[in-house]
Symmetry: D2
Subunit: 379 residues, 4 copies
């Protein structure tokens, strides 16, 4: 039993870290640190590391190996790991296909869906199932209200029309090819009514949106802490510094808007909460977040909490991508379809909305995972 993990944005830092990490886990070179699924009691329905096989789409053509070398330089991938997995990296390279780029694609968007779905079908032929995970750059927010699939199809067939953002083209291809879908970014992706309805009809599960990897993760435990103690948060200001591809793409104000909206939900409504994302290319893969919380206590006393989080973006996100691939594959195998709201633990802007308290989410996740086949030995 093997599961394909198809990465949209397969040549980026995150996808490359996912691939390197998966190859390292399969060879037992590293412990599954940061992999939540390794701590859960998962039943046989869930694939193990050895069962996962990566592939993907990307609009750029940088060789995986070159990107991996950069990640070694940046301190994300250990040199000894890279040396050991280099041969397998070349194999994965062969499984990658050109992605859909709206600027250069010559045909209609309907053609694009068809081509991407064909790639997925070809890849999927060798596996029990495929989970498509979008880890490409954040898009600007897009209104995509299409509720009727036939109308959507007609609109996509108009030459030169750009009806859906690339993430939704990819999501449509996934659903058409019978793949489960995960959105690890705040992009629109599958969140088009006609697409979610289709996924439901086809018995496909999906999850999202926007992986929770740093500042928002910390906020999702600190905001409930203030609430639990009846302390009144007056302001919660935040700054993010990041280099790498993500920093560059988020330097665009409209793309940043998607990210900022996705981050806001975790705070108490009405909080004064200025928030910035700055592109600082010289930081490379590092990201730094600073938060300042001004709160009021007994007798109106003014107090504060501030924190600084420093990490490697890809190292924080990659284990969650692997977790999601395993969990969503298991859900698919167990017959779950539609939005997997129990996976809110992983996301800044969770589908369904089980709230933002990390520990409530963790409990929901653990119970859900055990409920699929009644659990089993951890891996």
């Amino acid at each position: 039993m093997t599961t394909g993990v198809w990465l949209i944005g397969a040549r980026g830092s995150l996808a490359t870290t996912v691939v390197c990490g998966l190859l390292a886990l399969r060879r037992g070179l590293v412990a599954p640190t940061g992999c939540v699924s390794a701590e859960l009691a998962l039943g046989d329905v869930f694939p193990d590391w050895d069962d996962l096989v990566p592939g993907g789409h990307d609009v750029v053509s940088t060789p995986l190996e070159k990107r991996a070398e950069q990640l070694v330089e940046d301190g994300v991938v250990p040199a000894r790991v890279f040396a050991a997995i280099r041969p397998e990296l070349a194999e994965v390279e062969r499984a990658l296909r050109p992605g859909y780029d709206p600027l250069t694609w010559p045909g209609t968007q309907a053609d694009a869906v068809a081509r991407l779905a064909a790639d997925l079908a070809e890849f999927g032929a060798g596996h029990d199932r495929v989970v498509v995970v979008n880890v490409s750059s954040t898009e600007a927010p897009a209104a995509a209200e299409h509720a009727d699939l036939e109308e959507l199809d007609r609109a996509l067939s108009v030459p030169e029309a750009r009806v859906l953002p690339p993430s939704s083209i990819a999501a449509y291809a996934a659903v058409r090819a019978g793949c489960a879908y995960v959105d690890f970014t705040p992009s629109t992706g599958i969140r088009v009514p006609a697409l979610t309805a289709l996924a439901g009809r086809r018995g496909l599960p999906y999850a999202g949106s926007d992986g929770k990897t740093g500042q928002t993760l910390v906020r999702s435990v600190l905001a409930p802490m203030f609430e639990a103690r009846a302390l009144r948060v007056r302001s919660w200001a935040g700054t993010n510094l990041l280099g790498g591809g993500d920093g560059a793409s988020l330097a665009s104000p409209d793309r940043a808007a998607a990210k900022l909206a996705s981050k806001a939900g975790v705070l108490p409504p009405g909080t004064e909460a200025p928030l910035h994302i700055d592109n600082v290319p010289s930081l490379g893969e590092r990201k730094i977040a600073w938060d300042h919380v001004a709160f009021e206590g007994f007798l109106g006393a003014r107090m504060s909490l501030q924190f600084t989080w420093e990490g490697y973006d890809s190292a924080l996100a990659a284990p969650l991508v692997l977790d999601l691939a395993r969990l969503v594959a298991g859900a698919h195998a167990a017959g779950a379809a539609g939005p997997l709201t129990e996976l809110g633990f992983f996301f800044k802007d969770p589908l369904g909305g089980t709230g933002h308290n990390l520990f409530a989410q963790a409990r929901a996740l653990a119970e859900w995972a055990e409920s699929l086949e009644g659990g089993g030995a951890g891996c």
Copy 2:
């Protein structure tokens, strides 16, 4: 129906803030910010702010009013609140009694227990019940293994013997006088087998130890966060700066030892965790805690989280003391006896041990509070 709140250390900063805050709450001058009990669904068995009447013991004789003036100066008590409650402060002053000071007390420790119990009995005559809360300075750790009450009584009767630390003398007096007992410090207090057994026999509830007001509070949500995300904490270093009475008393290494031990439980076992408490008198009532967490993520990536917490010690602790007074009084009224393990939410070193995850503790607290008489309207 009134409940006496008897404070051991009644002339200290914390007790004075408790008293000022209670008087302000009763007059509706301030909101119950920081009071967790105000958010719980509490039934009739629990006293309301109006039902609480303060009194207490102290070994010093500084007038309450003078201490309150200092708290105004230090920014803990608002000037307008002080002006409004001044007359009632004088009333509370009259309810205070000299505490037991082992250095100057002329009689045996048995005499001391008797005298303190007599004070409590006199005070309790006017109320339905009394909750004794120890908010006096942290003591050095003391071994107090006495399991047999009669033997303990004999030992206490030996002239000049100093068998129990003052916190335990106070706890014994509380139990003898039929009062519930709360230890808001890490001192020994009621944690002497003969005393806890007696409390059980007499149907008295008790709770402790060591109120969780800042650094440990934050740790109790961050440590589980790392665990939930399978991130490996490698070191967790901390520093506390505090002025005020607490800073001075913790400047003594043996007293600090009690506090440091109480703080350590919340971290993963085996973590490298240097921790300091520094006395910085010029900070006054302010306290500042800095923590640095070095953790390891996917592929061994080294990352860090640091936070700084700045607050007013008394403003953080006082609402919890009031919460505990209400909750323990309600438990007593409802017939609960022995250790109230469901109150672990409030403590660094909780009796019984329901773990250190703040949200698990919060849930346990809420369920327990509702279970006493099935809950009711919040206050």
Copy 3:
């Protein structure tokens, strides 16, 4: 010998703190903490605290006393100081005059200059000299290239023309009335060629721009530290959180632009340096700045320094305003005219440009102060 200190924006937080502080210094209620001039060896040419008499213009009419009460509430002015100086505050209130508001002023800008100058002449009649200090809200950057005074006068006389920003109208009035001028904000003020030329011709000194009170102050010692140690700064990111009037006025992006430009000069050219100013009204008079410096050391090692500065905006700025009033008055008395480049110590964007190293600036200031009459006893 008395010196008038005329504040543009006289009813704002900063001006009110200046006035309260001056009255408190004159009565000996407080030490001159934060007053640099109190540490300098100043000769007789410089006025002492007792010689300074405040007045000013403002476009709002909030009573000084009410603003001062707010500053007591916000923790800037001690309650005991306010109680003591209240009577004298009423006197200062009587010396305040309505400022020039371009939105409501019915006449030409030339009329406005004439009216403001008349106010200054009236005020100045009672004093040896007057120093006008602009402490009003930051304006949006304005191009004001007028080099010819007659042409400027003609332009100002056109009905409804708005040729100069309010800060420059005030500066023009100051020069016309024979007053020295200080710009404590980044607004245009006297930086119009025709006005600086006129000040020179009339023998009037002036100083500016933009008082250095927090983040930039720290940067002006840290940036030279990295340089002195041959460490390569790669990025220097900063965030400012401030409430109060300044926060609100800087929430406007074009006004913030003036401030951000003024702050940038202190860093090494070419540094990646994202910088934000956020309006957080609930912070009141508090301001918080966080800076993160990523630097490279030997063998390319990546290291970092971060700092958080927390203070009260008005308490940081007010002593510098008083220092500048004394120093500029002394310069005027000693016959200095034109830009006082030796006062760069006080400013983010110093006139003349003696560099940004705080200690080089401090030395230049001390030498200059001593050179005026050869120094003398400090005050």
Copy 4:
């Protein structure tokens, strides 16, 4: 013209970084980032990187190459640099000699001096001069008041007597062998009156003590900043976290005492200044320092500054060791003898005492360097 650089503690992290860095500089593999001497206008009297040849003593026998591999792992030495210099590292290995270990040395301390001096003489035969730099572990403070050389010699000749600490044995050997001496640690070293007198008589320069590489560096610009602004520092608390060899050696309270004393001088006298050094082995070569400064401004306003410094201990110190080798060699060549007080810039506890303001020290250094032969082209 070549200059020997003899490192006491030659197999430690710092010395190994010095050696790797020097080899990398000589091959042009890296820029001299962090090398202050590269920014100075140095005359011909000073050796260039190419002229420096390393050697040294150590009491352990870990091969240099193995230590360098560890430094690659810890992120201090880039893998590409290590690969390139590996052959030359083996050459340096051959120039290392066993150090003096009081626990195992079979002879008298006089014998030890003779043996170390003989090693230096042998090494020095190939060079114009040798600078001995102590970079070994910090010793516990030792009283070494010996003023008379003959008496000292007699004491050293007593079998089994341990009269001087190892750092002073090494310093004595250096002076006897005609070498200049630098103490980069707070150990006693040459600070024995009989030894400094001898150095003076023999025309040998020396410098020290305790390289200023992080927290104290930052303090040496921030403390003067507060002073320049007449702001009153009330408390200045600090914590240091460090792994590596230095962390382990400073875990011993008496050794830490030496370091803490050396760090204290830079703060205003009388400041409340608790300071800790914690050994956190898992940090490896990283070190983290946190400082919290509480200060008072105008009208008594309470404000604060805090900073966190994160770096690699060896990467911060190594360029300074190279700078000192060059500068002290130049001083020796130019005929300077005795304490080089102009090098206070480099030290926490500078000989002679030109104060602690970093920029005053930088100026003194630059002027001194230029004065030796009137300066010349930088390198």
